[in-house]
Each structure stands twice: as structure tokens, then as C-alpha cells.
Symmetry: C2
Subunit: 159 residues, 2 copies
């Protein structure tokens, strides 16, 4: 297996093609991971959640430093992983955020998954306002990636 | 789509069957995600990395609070996700950790992936001792999970 660092353009291309990843936030140095759909647009990832996950939204409001990861594992020797360091930016339902919210919504409505529940477990249904949507985006500060292949990429370029 | 909370035994079963997930650590409230293979054994997840990822090992030594996540996405309305809160425990190459290291090694040698590089990119090769293995485990403090299905599980139990 041959592992190499991906260039920033390669990382961005992988981000543009995937739509599912994991967001990590931290509060009092306790990290937490949330699997989420996203849409990449320029230097931002647009995301969407419900107040069901309110604790984590509170965490990101108090500490906006986040990490986001996507991976594509085809086999044990063919995979890629892209990792972002970034910052949480909430897009509240206020006039000055309307354009950004519309942009987020336009991207995300094509990629609904986690936010289409017809049924939420009883525990969640008892939580008031559990389905209030929260739009936010991640501003990308740094992006890195690695990919693995069974063929040495240096040999491939020689032929 | 119907989302429900998974029971702890269901979460543990999912953990036992998967072997690939994402570990999140945090340093000065900056979270970081690492995709990793693992082996579940009782209340521990056994993991293995290289000093190539030394910075993150240093982070976990200084702040052992971690989160670990696995997911299984079959389709947009059939998925599950299990999230652990736990603590990093290093298994150094010392006599008192030999039994635990052997246990980790026995589990993990069947599941090699990230740690079988025949080639590491030039940048990594220039890093001294970049392939020194580090064994560690995550002690599970809390485990939660959600699963989604297209069929209402309450209807399924009625029939």
C-alpha cells in the first residue's frame, strides 16, 4: 500500500464530490462527533441540524473551533481521507443572514437525509421544538488529505 | 424515515461487527478527527497508529478525553450511527503493559489497513522514526446510537 499526501485542490475536489462526513466539536476539551450531510461551496461547508442536537449547537456557539472529516474506503489498500480545521458560523433566521440561509437551503435540499424524519423516537418527540432547524456553515481554515493505493503513484507517473 | 435510539446492547453489537471508525481528540478546545481501524473487546476499543501522527498522540496524552464514531449508511433512509465518549489509555512497550499490548496486537493484526504502508510519501519519510507503532485503547465511558429505517419499527412489532 502506498500512502501519499493529497494536494489542496485534490482535497477540495473530494469535498465537492462527497456529501456526507463527520463534524467534531469540543466543549471543555471533551470532543464529540456528529455524522452529517453537507454541501461544499467555496471556502464553506453548509450544514443543517435540528435542535434535537441542541447541546452540540450550544457547544459550537461557545467554542466555534471544529474539525470535519470525509473518507472514501474502497478497500484496505485503496482509500482517501480529507480533514478540515474550521470554524462554526451560525446562520440565524435574521434578515442579514437571509442570503446565506437561502444558499445553504438550495444546496442542502438536494441532499436531505438526516433531516427528513417522518418519525422521531418518543424520547425525541417529548422534547419541545425538537424539529426547529438550525442552519450553519463551517469556514475552512485548513484542509489536508491522504490517499492510499495498491500501485506506487511514482511508478504510475513514470510509465 | 423513522429514527430511533439504539439500546446499549445494540450499540455494542454494532461496535463488535464494524472495524473502522473515526476518533476525535481535542487540544486547547481544537477538535481533530482521525479515521482508524479498531477492535472492540469488552469495555475497550484497541487502536494502533504511527508516530507520523505524533501530534495527535501528544494531544491525547495531555487530554485523554476522546470520542469515537462508527456509522453504516446503506441509503438515505437506512443508516445507523454509534457514538462513544471515552478515554485514551496508552499501552507503552513496558512489561506491565505486555498483556494488553499482546491482546491489542492479536486483535489488530487481522485488521491491518492504515498501518501497512509499503511506501510513505517523501514528506513522511523525512520525519525520523515516523513508523514507530503506538498501541493504545479507548476506555468506553458512555455509548449511544441512532438508527433509521424506511419502515416504522413500531408497526413492525405489531405485525
Amino acid at each position: 500500500m502506498f500512502i501519499r499526501e493529497m494536494s489542496v485542490p485534490e482535497c477540495r475536489e473530494a469535498l465537492a464530490h462527497a456529501h456526507f462526513g463527520r463534524l467534531a466539536c469540543a466543549y471543555n476539551n471533551q470532543p464529540y462527533i456528529l455524522p452529517m450531510n453537507y454541501a461544499a461551496d467555496g471556502n464553506y461547508l453548509y450544514l443543517y441540524t435540528f435542535t434535537t442536537f441542541g447541546q452540540k449547537v450550544e457547544w459550537m456557539r461557545s467554542n466555534p473551533l471544529v474539525s470535519f472529516e470525509i473518507d472514501d474506503v474502497v478497500s484496505r489498500d485503496q482509500w482517501s481521507s480529507v480533514i478540515i480545521f474550521g470554524q462554526y458560523e451560525e446562520l440565524p433566521d435574521q434578515p442579514e443572514f437571509e442570503a446565506a440561509r437561502n444558499r445553504a437551503y438550495a444546496h442542502l435540499q438536494q441532499r436531505a437525509m438526516w433531516w427528513e424524519p417522518a418519525y422521531i423516537s418518543q424520547a425525541h418527540r417529548e422534547t419541545p421544538h425538537s424539529l426547529t432547524p438550525i442552519f450553519f456553515r463551517i469556514k475552512i481554515d485548513k484542509i489536508t488529505g491522504h490517499s492510499a493505493s495498491a500501485i506506487n503513484p511514482e511508478d504510475a507517473t513514470k510509465t
